[in-house]
Subunit: 444 residues, 2 copies
């Protein structure tokens, strides 16, 4: 049988990986897929660079639309990224009856509803394993491996840049800004690192996983997003003393009132496997009602790890594209006509309604009665305390210091309640600086 | 559309879990599968107990063949276990044109070639996610999620009983026999624990994963199998001092000459994520050439975790049973007509040809020249040493002791070479007891 014909839009780091892995492992992939998979055409604005990657025998063009217009092409891989031209091209490819593979988490998190609807109407597949956690087959696990389960929550380290930075901050006791520069020098962070360090990239991925886990549409605009730029080495150290690591987690959870969808730094017990995921690695823990907790770990980015996911999607489409669309795996795991009702039953909750526990650090005057006042405010708000760590003033501010750090771990409370209590504590004259608040997840 | 009709053979722990989870999550499962999934008939020798589980409305019989003969039944779940009647029933169900779901690792590891051939000939699916690592979707990850990769090796903690025992031995410093009794009392080990503690169960699972990873037939008879019954708390303690944990690993690896397939206790660096998998939990690390290392973690046994995998298979079959068999995922990941040639190119190697590194513990006389003699033998065999730990005699044997323990970690060497060297060392008059040898895997 003729190999399935693939057109590639954008042959940068990931695109080159896809081409190279398909070449290198073509025999093994054919033995699995039952049919060859061939990149027949590549579009890239840098035609010269593209030619260098693919050599002779593959048609290279600068116009992506020429790939979409080619009737020989069965599958289009979109690796351009962003919401702009990528969106137009994906929709045009779908309209032309092509199956689409994309690694574009931003596009799907924001415009997924429109794209999946167009694909369903046209009867084509849009596959996106590479959009979340790189080479880890987490979309497949959530969408097919755990179908028996009512998913209760998932939490993931799904941005390698920030996990690398947090690992370095902990290892070396350095502050954020210093480590960011090092990460940029090493290529772990981009020149404009905003999407990574502000949590936006993780929120795109969490949004996609939330939809698949709970059978709701993608709703990036309702995600709570907080990055790691405000974290200090001090808090990482105190957390460690209390038996926790700080990780940037993408969390989505089903609770009685609806769905939590949030990205923020979180204390995680050091003994949890996910707390020990270091450097640029990714991992996702999924809690299902039947299976309990399962964890998936691997490289979340990079040329060949991401290519691994793109090619797995190519093989899936090669196997399934002849199948009646109703018998394929739905794009978001659940039959599309059921998503809207689920959204009305399970709204994404505002952050003030989220219930979690907290780490608080207060810079206070080293004098009698401070702890009583602070804990009095918490008690008044109905917030119960799990642990308190008060440092000796000399240790914190040097000899003769009149200030010290008071660290409090709380039990579960509503975020709105905690906001009010923090505002009250902030008014105390003995609280000398802005209160640091980091959320804490036990993940059990 | 009428729900897909399922017949269940054997409704013990796992079967009850399948029934209960399907009932509890039926709405959510239908939203995913696009069609209801209904257990319409159950066969169990204990009809009374079966009726108690399923209640009214489900036909219960004592004769499994009545389920297979029922033309309304689309899928048969085999949860009887063992090689005997289970094999006959699976083959009969296939012959009757039923799709089969089974959790029976022993059956597939030993008779998989016959069973998969029969299924292919008949055009039906045999699904077995539950046969390896319980609720962890490792079969799906290997067979579909990592299709882009040339798999290099995989290593798994795939027997919860032995991992529980090893975790307890380490935590409490107790010896094997004591902990086994405790595990039996707690229900983590069976009354006859042979299959677990001798490594046979892990070898069944490793055999299945080896076939899927490398595209070869199942070859349980060629697996090397060594259990944990000879392990002592002493070795676990020394390993810890050297920065390692001891785990019972199922390992399969592609090397130049062929395939390694082996189950035995292994030292693993403590800093590896898999070394920190405790209690009855399972985890598998897979190394692919494109994706690098990925890890999958979760519950490897139990009623609902195993049911989670069985039901994922039911959903897969519900989606794919109408598909042309050539476009389904092959049973062993690779197109069946390619397996025999791969087997001739990649034979499973005898243990003497395996290359790995070693932990050796020698009980020696505490006198000059012992270390020189031992290391001389190793040097003569071309085995290089990675680390040596010699204990003070007083610490090992009490005050005035004339014996001590000499622990040696080696670099990679061929097992046959190591066997010869151990035989030579054993002849030394200053080596006072049988030499302990445990293999060591760096897993990087």
């Amino acid at each position: 049988m003729k190999p399935i014909q693939v057109g590639l839009l954008g042959i940068g780091t990931v695109g080159s990986g896809v081409f190279n892995v398909l070449q290198r492992n073509q025999e093994e992939i054919r033995r699995r897929a039952g049919r060859g998979i061939e990149i027949a055409m590549v579009a890239d604005l840098d035609v010269e660079r593209a030619r260098k990657v693919v050599g002779e025998g593959v048609q290279v063009v600068s116009d992506a639309r020429a790939v979409i217009a080619n009737p020989e092409i069965d599958i289009v891989i979109e690796l351009i990224g962003g919401y702009g031209i990528a969106k137009a091209l994906v929709l045009e490819a779908i309209a032309a009856g092509k199956h689409v593979v994309t690694a574009n988490k931003a596009l799907l998190a924001v415009h997924g509803t429109e794209i999946f609807a167009a694909a369903s109407a046209k009867g084509v597949m849009v596959a996106f394993e590479a959009a979340v956690a790189g080479g880890i087959p987490i979309i497949k696990a959530l969408r097919e491996g755990l179908t028996a389960n009512r998913i209760q929550w998932l939490a993931g380290i799904i941005n390698g840049t920030t996990n690398f930075i947090l690992s370095e901050m902990r290892d070396k006791g350095l502050d954020f800004a210093v480590v960011l520069k090092e990460a940029q020098r090493l290529g772990y962070a981009e020149t404009d690192p905003t999407f990574d360090i502000e949590g936006v990239d993780a929120a795109h991925k969490a949004t996609i996983m939330s939809a698949i886990a709970f059978g709701i549409p993608v709703q990036f605009d309702k995600a709570y997003v907080e990055g790691i730029t405000q974290l200090s080495a001090t808090d990482i150290k105190y957390a460690e003393q209390l038996g926790y690591r700080i990780k940037l987690l993408g969390i989505t959870k089903r609770v009685d009132k609806g769905i939590e969808l949030r990205v923020h730094p979180s204390l995680v017990p050091s003994k949890r496997l996910i707390a020990n995921v270091e450097g640029a690695m990714n991992a996702v823990v999924v809690q299902g009602d039947a299976v309990g907790a399962t964890l998936y770990y691997g490289k979340g980015a990079g040329s060949e790890p991401t290519a691994s996911a793109v090619i797995a999607d190519l093989v899936d489409i090669t196997r399934l594209h002849t199948v009646d669309p109703l018998n394929r795996v739905p794009h978001l795991a659940f039959q599309p006509h059921t998503l809207d009702q689920a959204m009305s039953e399970l709204p994404v909750l505002p952050m003030s309604e989220v219930v979690t526990s907290y780490y608080l650090r207060l810079r206070v005057a080293d004098q009698a009665g401070v702890l009583a006042k602070v804990t009095g405010i918490l008690a008044g708000a109905g917030i119960s305390i799990d642990a308190v760590l008060q440092r000796e003033a000399d240790e914190v501010g040097g000899e003769g210091s009149t200030q010290t750090d008071l660290i409090i771990l709380t039990h579960d409370t509503r975020e709105g309640t905690m906001n009010d209590a923090i505002a009250q504590m902030q008014q105390l004259p003995t609280v000398l600086a802005s209160i640091t608040r980091i959320r804490k997840e036990e993940l059990n």
